[in-house]
Symmetry: C2
Subunit: 511 residues, 2 copies
């Protein structure tokens, strides 16, 4: 034991994607305040090393003078036992921050720069401040399309890459921003029933009220080991699982955890994020859904077209067959927002229920039709009819049930949260606008996706006639604090505009 | 008591310029994980509000389920008693982040935007991520000079403004980066002895081995209340105190705490930072020292000239008489680096000691001379001779002793740290280069400025002849861990180049 060692102690604090170390102010070996001004320390034990932001502790109950405390993230990353002896040193900033500074200065970066940056980030050598600097420096129009290609490749290389050993592996992805838009849960059973391989790995919601993985989890297990996944996909030709266990472009979640709180959303980063995940998932043929509308992520047609070109440029160079569909993003898709409510909508469509939301059904058939046309044996223009036949014949529903069983069926309970509140029209008229962002926020604040049964159930959509006092939607929650937050939010801004027939928002997807 | 209240508990963790709140994962009122993904929460009690980053806690000994823990910074900022009942809400991002996002998009901001941003930062509404985004978006050449003027005014308005009720309040400031450069401690007594008002407020070192306040603190108290300060300045015409108690442009330290770990150092932000502090300190006449050299902050003459124009542009518009001196920044000034060693150099110059470092004496006389020429009664070109006469006659030393006594004399101990290590020449030759950055870093890692006696004592300067094995400098430290860090650093890179006469770095200040 050297004189300059401390013993590791896990501190019960979850610092969310950032390594934090805790040092007692009265530590006699290391001078806590001297380290603190420089912000980061290097923790070493045998071969393992960890960079962490330092917090100074004045309470011996949290960390004693001879200990080095680590947050959950840091402890997990260093991966040694409680009580292990470690040494501490001044941390050099990660080398690749030089490239970030060059980018801030307006220089162009090359493949090696992006590789180094992505590698340092995924090895948790960047603080959140440093990640923010990288995101701002490469945000907006600061990356040209070659740099974007480099970034995509660099992100891809931070994780595993799946190989399905087939020449056609289909996939679809929506750029997000439209609540209720659960088309994947319809596209996958339809396409798999046609016999094409569609192993869909999805993310969980980060700041939206539900991701596909959150909603699928209402019906079945979604956390599968790679070997289970392989087996299910071989048997069923499709799956609907959470991508997290497969370690696909893991840097993506880390960047999103900084990007979202900052509210910066650059097209370049979106393209790199989506394509690196899809390439890592082993997809060969991909449909990208870009919804356009005044409260969607993409608000103008010219912006959608620019984004399409970016996807095509990077996709072509990385050898993925990619097609972009620009869709109607004026309002939420389907009626339910939140895992249980969305799962209900999906099951209604699969069961050919009369109540099933038409827009969700139509959009899913269009997407599935385009994917089915990737099949060399399908004549151009026939995909939609084939998809509709698969759905109407009940084969899509049967396929979905097989996938659910294969992944591990759950006791399905589609009752939404018991605390509920109706938001009603304040005048007679026609629904002229529904704000995607605000409806998503209300559902989120009500507890979705953590509380599966929380969310918003829409009763009226664009163009519907309403009378004063008639309910527009119902908020569901499980916990009183969340219920109050959601009620207050809906009272401030209920997300609906009611006016006259001619004021109804026109779709923006006509050229 | 409402059902949704938690009791405030101060957690003994110092999170250094960032508000952090701790919520137990099993809190039955608020769903910790739901808040965490969105990163920030709003804490409310009566009229007071606080924005804080959320950490989730799994240890009831740190925070219990019914409590909301706050770090030192957050607790101090909310300013309510332990046990007070508070409510928690989802935080909206600070409004002014919209302006930051507009800046990221390449827009130009106006005075109101900068006022809002600076106000939100100083009210601790920005997380470190958000401050990093602001600094990167406004870094390098992203601010034009009008925006720089707006930023300077906005920073100025975040704090108090001193008024000395005289028409000529002299000041000097060096942009930094040169170790040992303690000219202020000579300029102030010389100028004050001449009878001009020079109330010098200085900062402590942040990432350098000593600031003027750290070095002055070896000799006297530097933490004075505004009323004491006024009294001393009236009697002595000068002072050398820490500016922190006066609340001058307090945003500056907050921005620096993010800027330095990121290693971003933009000229625009430097100008805004320096001029907002000087205007807040009530200065009317100011000399700015810009050292130029290959390891200085400014490395080329053209860069120094561009920086001079920026200072002049903003200074003229904010009604401060400002002159820039471009000086020789090839190597450290004086022999000592670190508070005690630098105080020794300063006292040697004041005492007209034969051992006194010539470069420190010369530079200080030049700066003092230029300031003395601000006096309308002094003929142009006579300042230097007057300054030299004040120094050689012992009047500068007497003035310094009076200032020290007025501020509160300390028992002066100029013995450097007892752990010491000599770094020696590895060949015969001439010293051709001394790296400012590396010598500063060695002194810093050895413990300066926290340990006043730690630092580096240079024996050889540029152009000096050395023999193999002859000591170049000595490292002093007080604590074994720091001593080891400094020794290792000096072994990796000792900061000296030894070569032949014709290789000695030439000064860059000739046009």
């Amino acid at each position: 034991m050297s004189i300059d060692t401390l013993t590791i102690h896990q501190v019960g604090i979850d610092t969310y994607h950032e390594n934090v170390a805790y040092l007692n102010r009265n530590c006699s070996i290391y001078r806590a305040e001297g380290f603190q001004a420089l912000s980061k320390i290097l923790v070493s034990v045998n071969g393992a090393r960890l960079l962490a932001v330092l917090n100074v502790v004045d309470d011996n109950a949290i960390v004693q003078p001879g200990e080095l405390g680590l947050s959950h993230q840091a402890f997990k990353h260093l991966n040694v036992a409680e009580g292990t002896l470690v040494t501490v040193n001044h941390a050099e900033p990660p080398k690749s921050m030089d490239a970030v500074r060059r980018k801030i200065n307006g220089e162009r970066l090359d493949q090696a720069d992006f590789d180094d940056i992505c590698n340092d980030i995924v090895e948790t050598r960047y603080s959140k401040m440093e990640m923010a600097a990288f995101l701002v420096a490469t945000g907006q129009n600061n990356l040209d399309r070659d740099e974007l290609l480099y970034l995509t490749q660099a992100m891809l290389q931070t994780g595993e890459r799946m190989d399905w050993h087939e020449s056609l592996v289909a996939d679809k992805h929506c750029i997000g921003g439209i609540p209720g838009n659960r088309t994947s849960m319809l596209v996958v059973p339809i396409v798999a029933a046609h016999g094409m391989l569609i192993p869909k790995t999805s993310s969980r919601a980060i700041t939206s009220p539900a991701g596909t993985a959150d909603t699928m989890e209402v019906l079945s297990n979604v956390n599968l080991k790679p070997v289970q996944l392989l087996d299910i996909v071989q048997r069923e030709r499709g799956c609907l699982v959470w991508g997290g266990t497969a370690n696909l472009a893991p840097i993506d979640d880390m960047l999103i955890s900084v990007e979202r709180p900052l509210g910066i959303d650059s097209q370049g980063q979106m393209v790199a994020s989506i394509l690196s995940k899809k390439l890592a998932a082993g997809s060969t043929h991909l449909i990208i859904d870009i919804p356009v509308g005044p409260t969607a992520k993409v608000r103008h047609m010219r912006q959608a077209l620019a984004l399409r070109k970016l996807f095509e440029f990077v996709g072509d160079r990385l050898n993925i067959h990619l097609e972009v569909m620009i869709t109607d993003g004026r309002q939420p898709i389907g009626m339910g927002i939140g895992p249980v409510l969305e799962a209900r909508d999906v099951m209604q469509v699969l069961n050919n229920d009369q109540q099933a939301p038409t827009d969700l059904r139509q959009k899913s058939l269009q997407l599935a039709g385009r994917i089915i046309e990737f099949d060399p044996d399908v004549r151009g223009g026939q995909g939609y009819a084939i998809a509709r036949d698969i759905l109407e014949s009940g084969r899509a529903c049967a396929k979905m049930n097989n996938i659910i069983k294969a992944q591990g069926e759950k006791k399905i309970d589609l009752q939404p949260g018991k605390l509920c509140f109706q938001v009603c029209a304040d005048r007679d008229g026609i629904v002229t606008d529904i704000d995607n962002f605000q409806t998503a926020k209300i559902a989120r604040i009500a507890g979705a996706p953590m509380d599966k049964k929380a969310g918003v159930d829409l009763f009226k959509k664009l163009g519907d006639k309403v009378s004063k006092g008639e309910p527009l939607y119902q908020i569901h929650a499980e916990f009183p604090a969340d219920f109050n937050f959601a009620q207050n939010l809906a009272t401030q801004n209920n997300a609906y505009c009611i006016g006259d027939e001619e004021q109804v928002l026109k779709p923006l997807i006509d050229f």
